[in-house]
């Protein structure tokens, strides 16, 4: 028998992890697409969702491999979570790496952060590599590592939500339940990405960016929003089962 309180708590936790993960992903929006800001040249929600949903696809695949008629054991649940996290990390690292190739070889600018004087990981000097009239460009190592952590948290959160929804649904061979769990997990993912995106305000370089200090506000907001989503999720998924 599934305990609804535990399920609601875990779905909420998944939502909070997604919101937290979005803050780690270095995105520069339209300015970064013109190499005028550090980070990936797209919107916060877009990249986070792309990575998290790739993780969800990996987690869905692994869930079906490991699930039995009684659901998942705790150790198998960890494997599904890890698979989702790694799937999201692969997507985001590939995207950041190819993006980096375009900044370096297509635009001709070195990767650099405008928010710190030295890269906290490599110790490389940053400020003198920032071109005139820009807020940095490309994806320096600190942002790349931060983005990887963001992918990990996003994939973990998305997978946790999916697993809990599948546990309520009960039957992993029923494609209706799988589809509903997948689309609901996507929905919860988007809700939390958008909330985090408002908190970030368009651009963030990663965990070294001063904007990262706003994280506590996002966690509270994501907690409330995810809790509401989780409360709705239980009767909806239970209704299908």
């Amino acid at each position: 028998m599934i305990d609804p309180i535990t399920t609601i708590v875990l779905i909420t936790l998944g939502g909070v992890l997604v919101g937290l993960g979005v803050h780690f992903i270095p995105v520069g929006g339209a300015p970064a697409a013109m190499a005028q800001a550090t980070g990936v040249g797209t919107g916060t929600v877009q990249l986070a969702a792309g990575a998290g949903l790739t993780g969800l696809i990996s987690a869905g695949f692994m869930y079906n491999e490991l699930a039995t008629s009684t659901g998942l054991t705790n150790s198998n649940m960890i494997l599904v979570l890890a698979s989702g996290a790694v799937g999201a990390m692969i997507m985001i690292t590939v995207t950041m790496f190819i993006g980096q190739l375009i900044y370096v070889y297509g635009v001709g600018v070195p990767p650099v952060s405008a928010k710190v004087k030295k890269d906290p990981i490599t110790g490389d000097v940053q400020d003198i590599y920032v071109s005139k009239g820009t807020e940095g460009h490309g994806i320096p190592t600190v942002s790349f590592v931060s983005g990887t952590i963001g992918g990990l948290l996003g994939g973990l959160g998305g997978s946790l939500i999916y697993i809990q929804l599948m546990n309520i649904g009960g039957d992993h061979t029923n494609s209706g339940i799988v589809a509903l769990a997948g689309i609901f997990a996507t929905g919860v993912f988007y809700v939390n990405s958008v909330i985090a995106s408002y908190n970030i305000g368009g651009t963030i370089e990663g965990f070294h960016d001063p904007k990262f200090k706003r994280v506590p506000k996002a966690i509270v907001s994501c907690l409330i929003a995810s809790l509401l989503c989780a409360i709705i999720a239980v009767p909806i998924m239970g209704g299908v089962a």
Binding site: A30, A32, A33, M34, A35, Q36, G41, T42, G43, Q46, L47, A49, G50, T54, I57, G60, F61, M62, N64, E65, L79, A82, S83, V86, G87, M89, I90, M91, T93, V94, M96, F97, I98, Q100, I102, Y103, V104, Y105, G106, V107, G108, V109, P110, T122, V125, D127, I128, Y129, K132, G133, G138, T141, F144, V145, S175, V178, A179, G182, I183, T186
Partner: protein
Amino acid sequence: MTDPIIMDMGIVALAGALATIAGAAEDLESDVGSQSNPNSQVQLAAQMNFPHRIFNKAISGEPVSYGLFCAAGGTMASVLIAKEMSVIFAIAIGAFIAALVLGLFSLTAHLGRCASQKRFKQPIYMDMVTGHIPVIMGHGFIAVFCIVSFSYIMDHLMGHPFPLPLLALLWGITAGAIGSSTGDVHYGAEREFQQQEFGAGLNAAFSGNIVRKAESGLRNGMDNVWACAKFGGPLTGLALGLTVFLDNWRSTIFSGMDPVPGSINAIITGLIIVLILILANRLVEVKARKAYGPYKEETGGVAA
């Protein structure tokens, strides 16, 4: 008898190849029609007194719009396959419907955006509408066809539990996210501002001052895609192809093992891939810093 793993790896390679074509076509479609972040400059240009002949559409963020088109194509294909139509024809008809939706949105977005800029004297060129929209739809068709095709492969041949329309939706969102993050930078930071010296960085003061003259005549979306197809488009394809291939490869390679040790190996392999990419990124960073050097002296003076 052929080892099943060879067949499985062939299927993964086919999915990766389809994803590579899809990624390239997706990015090139967004370059012809000027969607996503670089379109902010196309929109701004007329307001900065630079009227132009670049196609102007930004229906929504690329991930959301491609999620919609691929879900539409995937749903149509799914229905036709259920009615026992040939898989290739079903996916082609689904992609055609998605291309029609894309064409319709492109038309309304372009006319609406240009009409709203009347006070900035931005004309609506009807030859651009008739010339660009079929090209946008053509690229969109290829992208949606390939995305729905590899979603079908994952669903029916690899045994993924998600139904085809949901997989197409999720991969459409991912394809859009990758196209928006990689290839668009080549269009936005290089092709739109080719009058700036290569590697000088793009001063925010140049915003809106996009290149409006082509190699011959006035520049339009076709001229942009001609240039971006040489670098940004193929690299976007590589990014989506690598994502699809590596993510599936790491689980398929251990499919002969028991599920639990196989899953653990797949996770460890994934982490090794991530580590390699972090190191590769560092190598590119070091190489770029050495090759281009700083823009200023350490003391604060401007470098030559």
